[in-house]
């Protein structure tokens, strides 16, 4: 039992299950899944569809946070990539002639470029990660606005609209296509983290950056790689979000999503100061955040109140994960402590 409760993924998973159980009792038809237009339909399917962008971001964010950094520019990168993709699909950038492939490639490249820039600032110029990514966070929405010339680009009548819409809102084998993207990306990242030297170095870098450097790990290169991955994830998320709403809204696309991503990582029990990390736990964290949102809608609570709920969840989860809090609040603190030490 002790072993289970001290496992990192236990708390987020428990929180997620508690939320589901709550829904089973209080939200009407939460678990109902029906078939509509040849695909599955219901709240649970909705969660799978809508959690995709957040899950992708939290994968990237986990890696960045593992190096002791943070990337707060992802929301702006989401806006940039959506703006580029939609502008091309819509034919605003005439040279690409509504090309679907060009839209995807250029949007992804924009994410990689943003990530490289962040990585360069953090690893080479040695700026603190939060400040370094603050630059792109501030500039990013401006850049996205310049791409779309300040308008909200809608792609309702574009020739490749159907294909593009399929990415974020389509269904494959009855399940949302976006979910398959998450699974694919997750698998690749897990292989990268668990089966390559990169993953090992990443782990060591977060635990002790100096000793990693001294033992010959190319710290700079790893940092650049993780920020690039984070940028790439953000650009995929940008594509999914803009495809889901059939347009690019530079002001609101991905607004605050960096906070949700960091929140997912924190709920996943990853230390925000770097070190040991667990990508699946962050994904469960993202799942939890999305489930919370869907629950709020299902319960008919005004959507504005959701931030209040999030605040309570952050507080409760973080306090439970804090050793000091458990010691202070629970009189039987010794038991907790011993459990943690034994692990």
């Amino acid at each position: 039992m002790k072993k289970i409760t001290t496992n990192q993924i236990f708390w987020p998973l428990a929180a997620f299950i508690v939320l589901l159980v709550y829904n089973a009792f209080f939200a009407k038809n939460f678990f109902k899944i029906s078939i509509l237009d040849g695909h599955l339909y219901g709240n649970l399917i909705d969660i799978l569809k809508n959690f995709a962008p957040l899950a992708l971001l939290s994968i990237g964010m986990t890696l960045v946070i593992a190096t002791g950094g943070v990337d707060i520019s992802v929301g702006s990168v989401v806006a940039i990539s959506g703006a580029i993709a939609c502008s091309i699909i819509d034919g605003r950038l005439g040279i690409f002639d509504h090309s679907f492939v060009a839209a995807l490639i250029l949007a992804l490249l924009s994410g990689i470029a943003c990530g490289l820039w962040n990585g360069f600032l953090v690893a080479k110029v040695k700026i603190q990660p939060m400040v370094a990514t603050l630059i792109l966070m501030t500039a990013g929405r401006g850049i996205a606005q310049l791409i779309t010339k300040g308008k909200i680009v809608t792609i309702n009548s574009a020739p490749m609209m159907k294909e593009y819409y399929f990415l974020g809102a389509g269904y494959f084998l009855g399940l949302p296509f976006a979910f398959f993207i998450v699974v694919a990306v997750f698998t690749i990242v897990m292989i990268l983290v668990k089966r390559t030297a990169f993953g090992l170095f990443l782990q060591s870098l977060g635990t002790n950056s100096k000793s990693s450097l001294l033992s010959g790990v190319k710290v700079d290169r790893i940092k650049i790689v993780v920020y690039t991955i984070s940028g790439l994830m953000a650009s995929i998320a940008g594509i999914l979000i803009s495809s889901n709403i059939k347009g690019a809204d530079c002001n609101n696309a991905g607004l605050f999503i960096e906070l949700d991503a960091i929140l997912s990582v924190a709920i996943g029990g990853n230390s925000l100061s770097g070190g040991r990390f667990m990508v699946p736990a962050s994904i469960v964290g993202a799942l939890f955040v999305q489930c919370l949102t869907t629950t709020v809608y299902a319960l008919g609570v005004p959507p504005e109140a959701i931030s209040l709920l999030k605040a309570i969840v952050i507080l409760v989860l973080c306090l439970f994960q804090s050793d000091n809090f458990r010691q202070k609040v629970f009189k039987g603190a010794g038991r907790w402590r011993k459990g943690a030490d034994a692990a």
Binding site: Q145, L272, S307, S322, K328
Partner: protein, 329 residues
């Protein structure tokens, strides 16, 4: 010794010089730019941000961060509009707002210090909490038509014919002066620098680290609430979606003004100039007329980038010199 003072204040001097350069450039380029009122408008339009940036500077110097401030401003505006509509005494409302801001800051500081929760996460929770609370009061905007508020909002302190400042500016300047004096000359201010420089050694020196760290968040909460009151003078309404992203503006101002996010370095006056620089970029873009407003963001970000790289170069240089001196001795 003289050299020491210069290098210590180098980024502050760069900030001030840059501000003067921008102002000169604007004055040469645009007609009507070079006037006392254009200069004073920078203060009038950004009084609330200056106040918030002062609080933020203390938090950043202590090595923490407070991203709840924007929501505090929105919440203060919302709640005071609501209470005033229900006929509360305006002075009581202002007092209550300051109390709420400070208490919120205290709670965040408490869990940050005693439960070892990262400042980013704790204040993120605060941000969500305040923002959600706004919408519980009302989802639409509420007008403030209280006579006291409108009088304060519209009162003009004439400095010369056709040049004036608002009461908010006076409040902001008082906050800046008080903040600067506290930071440089009080026991508390010096302790904040010490904690930000190295918490462990500050603790070993016998400084009350817990009290200082919590006080910093109380101060930031207080400044945010005061900024919120000033902001409600400025807009005479409360709305839950107001000032999204303001915390980043405040942080950016501090960084442009020479504050290091790692803690231990920074100045209140620098942060004020950081705000003014952002304001003047906005003014220039308005005077230019044909540039879209999102160029402001891009310009501020480029400046931010420039400053951070500059600071990096300076501190790297200093490190090299210190090492050379150590090797020599």
């Amino acid at each position: 010794m003289k050299k020491g003072i210069f290098s210590r204040n180098f980024s502050l001097i760069v900030t001030i010089v840059l501000f003067l350069l921008l102002f000169t450039a604007g004055s040469l380029r645009y007609r009507g730019f070079f006037s006392a009122q254009v200069f004073l408008n920078l203060f009038i339009d950004n009084a609330y941000l200056i106040i918030i940036a002062v609080g933020m500077t203390f938090v950043l110097i202590s090595g923490g961060i407070d991203i709840s401030v924007a929501s505090v401003v929105a919440f203060v505006g919302m709640l005071s509009a609501y209470l005033l509509r229900n006929g509360w005494n305006p002075y009581l409302v202002m007092l209550l707002m300051l109390l709420i801001g400070s208490t919120g800051g205290f709670l965040m500081g408490y869990i940050i210090h005693y439960f070892k929760i990262q400042p980013f996460i704790a204040t993120l929770a605060g941000q969500f909490l305040y923002r959600g609370a706004c919408f519980i009061i009302s989802t639409s905007s509420i007008l403030i038509d209280n006579p006291v508020y409108s009088t304060i909002a519209n009162y003009q302190i004439k400095l010369a014919p056709r040049t004036y400042i608002s009461i908010s500016v006076v409040i902001a300047l008082i906050v800046v002066i008080a903040g600067a004096i506290t930071a440089k000359f009080s026991k508390f201010g010096r302790a904040v620098y010490a904690v930000g420089g190295n918490e462990q050694s500050a603790n070993l020196m016998g400084l009350p680290v817990a009290r200082i760290k919590i006080s910093v968040y109380v101060l930031s909460g207080f400044c945010a609430a005061l900024g919120g009151i000033v902001f409600s003078f400025y807009t005479l309404s409360g709305y839950g979606l107001q000032n999204i992203g303001l915390e980043m503006d405040a942080i950016a101002s501090s960084v442009i003004g020479g504050t290091l996010l790692t803690g231990g370095v920074g100045s209140v006056v620098g942060s004020m100039f950081g705000v003014l620089i952002q304001g003047i970029i906005q003014t220039i873009i308005i005077f230019q007329g044909n540039l879209s407003s999102w160029w402001t963001k891009v310009a501020v970000a480029s400046l931010l980038c420039l400053f951070i790289v500059l600071q990096r170069v300076i501190s790297a240089n200093r490190e090299r010199i210190r090492r050379r001196m150590l090797n020599d001795s």
